[in-house]
Symmetry: C2
Subunit: 599 residues, 2 copies
């Protein structure tokens, strides 16, 4: 203890090759060469960086945290070297188009690489995660000159990027932003204070590109009056060299529950007269541009949750295989056994394992849809994939992270008293995970997005495409499936029916009674996520059975995929009917409350 | 922020006077004078100590923690004074029989006092909680001389008490204890190392009475070979003055996730030749004696969970009433509102509030059963009450603390990004709570106790007495109950049916297949706890309706009791059918796993 992190390459490969199918990926223009060999090489190498370079610093960073003095942030020892190794290996530009200096690999592969990095050291991996968002934003919304000037060093990782939305009065309500920008020749002067800015400053990069939402004079109220500015920490000369300090200052850093080595800053822009900012996109068009970065970040936060679940599971499992305590309830006269033999411990570990594999499948399905939406030349396929990404983004973000809170807490429980002691490391995963359901849009915000924007807005079209896919699996159930697969079919059918009932109820009531929708949205998100997870695990079990029958692949691993799916089908999916009932009945009870209820 | 703690006197009074009935308490011999006036005075005064003396030190203790140097532990500043105020007020002996120098108040009242103290400062309140356990143990199992010599200063609180069970190889498996004791004249020499000893040493008391499980030479293996010893930190002379140091040493203290101001010690007994210990009870009869203290501690840990839920709820509620963010979904053109207006926030707060009130009712019902078992002169009533205490103890311990983990995590969520910042204080409640499902027997251990010992052992007799009580409420449903009470009747009926189905399944399968029982025990515990909580809340709603009809009491509070019960009935109870299905189906899937499943 702490036990080392082992890259979960076997399950990642199974999801990529069997559940998604590498052939489907290589069928997309530009990804023809991303075959199994390339992917294997990338994943193996990424696994090494994760386990050998990022992971050993995880508890060091937690214990020592960052230092803030003289307006400067110093990262914990070793972090600069690890980051340098990461960018020297070209990992920062992994998913970036080749035209911008990247390696042009699919998002799906980037996601699996980042899953391992987040598992290894979430507070450190957050840094390149934000850099990646800045790159994606500038690639999509920057003009040619901006891209030429700023992208190369962002892509190489020599410079960092940040998202500056939140102000003390503007958290979930981004439209309440008050930071100001005034035009001055070819640039703007930006002034204002931002809070909760991750990696607002640090010493691992030469310069930082702050992407800042601010308001022009006489801009309309709300989000429609927000403009987006690139505000470098240090101004960049035309020849690319660094110029003057740009009046951007860290005011303070937060003392947080977790992620101690990720600096969370209060940032002052323009304390001494105004930071120079460059408009990205159109005036008053900032929120749309920022959403590129935000959607990217939301998915990646889901991947953080996935990574932390995997890490926490491994930790608990390794401890349970090592710790001897009590006799087996099935052999009460035998010798004391390792606790992995105790059924309640197995139940906890299987809950951890099955949710983790379910979350991986859901996230990767979304990753593949991103690649399809970007690269497909078939307009219909492209549009469908795009709708799928929109639909799944709040699930990947909020469902994964809600279960990550539960799973990392179970990770403490499996260790017992030892889990409560910080040196064991299990508590850190729980503390690190706890912000994931909050930053980049709380679970409540994601649930609103899912119900109002993704379900009700298109009257259930994208949702039905997803449920049709699940129905198709159930309708084409192989006649030769082993007998003990029947419970998976049965419970997935019930879950799907419950989900569809709930969706119909929301479609009927949601528009006319937005309060009911808002009160039931989080339960709907959970029901949807649980069902999707079940769908992918059951499909995995059927594929594993095919392979077993064909005597292909690692028999022990394939048998485990089946056991895992059956565990999930019988321990998680039975919650579905209750969740649907809570949606139909519970929301009305919530709306009965008034402020006086809470006296 | 941090918002002050307000003693929840109104709801506590409702549970005592309406749900339990003070007349039933005063009907018990010895409690005749414990009427409403006395109880009101006690609760009001205890509320002041909690809110004015204990609560203000809660974040101080968390930030500064204890100090350990030169073998001595120093409590955070202010803790000694607070403890002194507590014992000077006579609170330490509140529930202790008058013959031992206590005030002889009912356990039920002690429980409500301690709920407030735990809410205010759980790490500090743990100290008198352990003292109380030691007092109860010595009162029950000490001989006259021991009681005379040691009880007075334990009861006054000048001395402390600890429980010394755990050793590195003996956690859940108490029978694996290796500490040794050898007879030497009228005492024993005790040697061994104990871990996770709460308040193993501190500077708030003059002396500490360690209650230590150890093994005599040639004692049988397992728990049947354990004897219990009183090992004072400093030996006590016959005249009551303090004598020599007794070779008891703190080796180290743990660095924990929470409860930073509660010292958790590794203790060495007899490093320098053996600590003097006095046998309590019979040789090899230690586990039975220790169970007195452990059962007391288990219930009190449940009360810690209850207190932390109340505290976390108040914190989240006060923040939600203060924080303005976003427009209402029901009035999208209006001004931004405090977040308590957002349905998803209300859902979270109501989840917190309704679970807290449910947990309070369940715990107090158990507290009243303790008093009845102790004081009733009716043999049947006494036996039934005793069986009820045994049945409810694992529920109060494990169900309450499992939901406390969920509730204190929601308490962070309601505060959003602010909740993740330690200064806000919400994260502390979550960290402090996290050990409650672990110490004094994990949830898994409690679930085993509930299923094997409390359900299956008496073939469901005590369980049926409880479910009969719920059935009776449903069968005698008032014909004039308002229409919107129907859903409470319906959902409680379904929950009860699911619970009884699950119990029948366990009774049928549990004995022949202990693995199935063990794998489903935690789900059964949750289902039972949820249903009991629903029963007490629904009964509270009916009582509130009676009072409203009779125009008695605080109308707003009573109306809220009804809204709260309906929320719980429609948002929590619908999980019951799924839980019963998980018990029937899921346990078999868990048992399908082997060690290889976890490769």
């Amino acid at each position: 203890m702490p036990f080392p992190f082992a890259p979960p390459l076997t399950d990642i490969r199974f999801v990529l090759t069997r559940l998604i199918g590498i052939d489907k990926l290589t069928a997309l223009p530009g990804y023809e060469s991303t075959g199994e060999d390339i992917i294997d090489a990338v994943l193996t190498e990424a696994g090494k960086i994760a386990s050998e370079i990022f992971a050993p610093l995880n508890d060091v960073g937690d214990k020592n945290g960052i230092k803030f003095s003289n307006d400067k942030i110093t990262m914990p020892q070793g972090f600069g070297d690890a980051y340098r190794a990461f960018i020297d290996g070209g990992w920062n530009g992994l998913q970036v188009e080749e035209e911008f200096g990247g390696q042009g690999l699919p998002s799906l592969i980037g996601m699996s690489v980042f899953e391992m990095l987040q598992a290894a050291n979430v507070a450190l991996a957050l840094c390149p995660m934000l850099n990646g968002g800045a790159i994606e934003l500038l690639s999509a919304h920057g003009d040619e000159a901006t891209k030429k000037k700023y992208l190369p060093k962002l892509v190489s990782g020599e410079w960092g990027g940040t998202m500056n939305l939140t102000e003390s009065q503007a958290g979930s309500d981004v439209g309440a932003v008050k930071s100001k920008a005034v035009k001055e020749g070819d640039h703007y002067r930006v002034t204002g204070q931002k809070i909760f800015i991750s990696y607002g400053d640090h010493d691992m990069v030469e310069n930082i590109m702050h992407l800042v939402l601010a308001r022009l004079p006489d801009a309309p109220e709300g989000t429609r009056g927000l403009s987006l500015f690139l505000v470098p920490k240090i101004l960049v000369n035309d020849d690319g060299s660094l110029g003057e300090f740009n009046d951007v200052r860290v005011v303070s850093v937060e003392h947080k529950l977790g992620q101690h080595s990720s600096p969370t800053c209060v940032m002052a822009f323009g304390d001494k007269g105004g930071s120079v900012g460059y408009l990205i996109g159109q005036e008053n068009g900032g929120i749309a541009a920022m959403f590129t970065m935000m959607n990217n970040a939301r998915l990646n936060v889901g991947v953080q949750g996935l990574g932390l679940m995997e890490r926490s599971y491994q930790h608990a499992r390794d401890y349970a295989k090592f710790r001897v305590q009590s006799r087996s309830v099935e052999d009460p006269k035998g010798a004391p056994v390792t606790i992995i033999h105790h059924p309640d411990v197995r139940r906890m570990l299987m809950t951890m394992k099955s949710y983790t594999e379910a979350a991986r499948a859901v996230a990767y399905a979304c990753g593949f849809a991103i690649d399809t939406a970007k690269r497909s030349t078939d307009a219909t396929q492209k549009a469908q994939a795009s709708a799928r990404v929109n639909l799944l983004t709040p699930i990947v973000k909020a469902w994964t992270t809600e279960i990550a809170n539960e799973i990392t807490s179970l990770g403490v429980q499996v260790l017992g008293g030892v889990g409560y002691v910080e040196e064991a490391g299990a508590a850190q995963h729980m503390r690190d995970a706890r912000v994931l359901t909050i930053y980049e849009g709380t679970t409540g915000i994601q649930a609103h997005d899912l119900t109002f924007r993704k379900l009700i807005h298109d009257q259930g079209a994208a949702f039905r495409a997803m449920t049709d896919e699940i129905s198709a699996l159930l309708d084409t159930w192989p006649a030769d499936a082993p007998e003990n697969f029947a419970i998976m079919h049965e419970n997935l059918s019930h879950a799907l029916a419950a989900l569809m009932d709930a969706a119909v109820w929301l479609l009927q009531n949601g528009k006319t009674n937005p309060g009911l929708t808002a009160a039931s949205a989080t339960s709907f998100l959970r029901l949807f996520g649980n069902t999707l997870g079940g769908y992918f695990l059951v499909r995995s079990a059927l594929l594993a059975q095919q392979d077993l029958t064909a005597k292909q692949g690692d028999g022990e691993f394939l048998a485990t995929k089946i056991v895992t799916a059956r565990f999930y089908a019988t321990n998680i999916l039975p919650q579905s009917v209750g969740l649907a009932e809570i949606i139909r009945q519970g929301a009305a009870s919530t709306l009965e409350t008034t402020e006086a209820t809470f006296n």
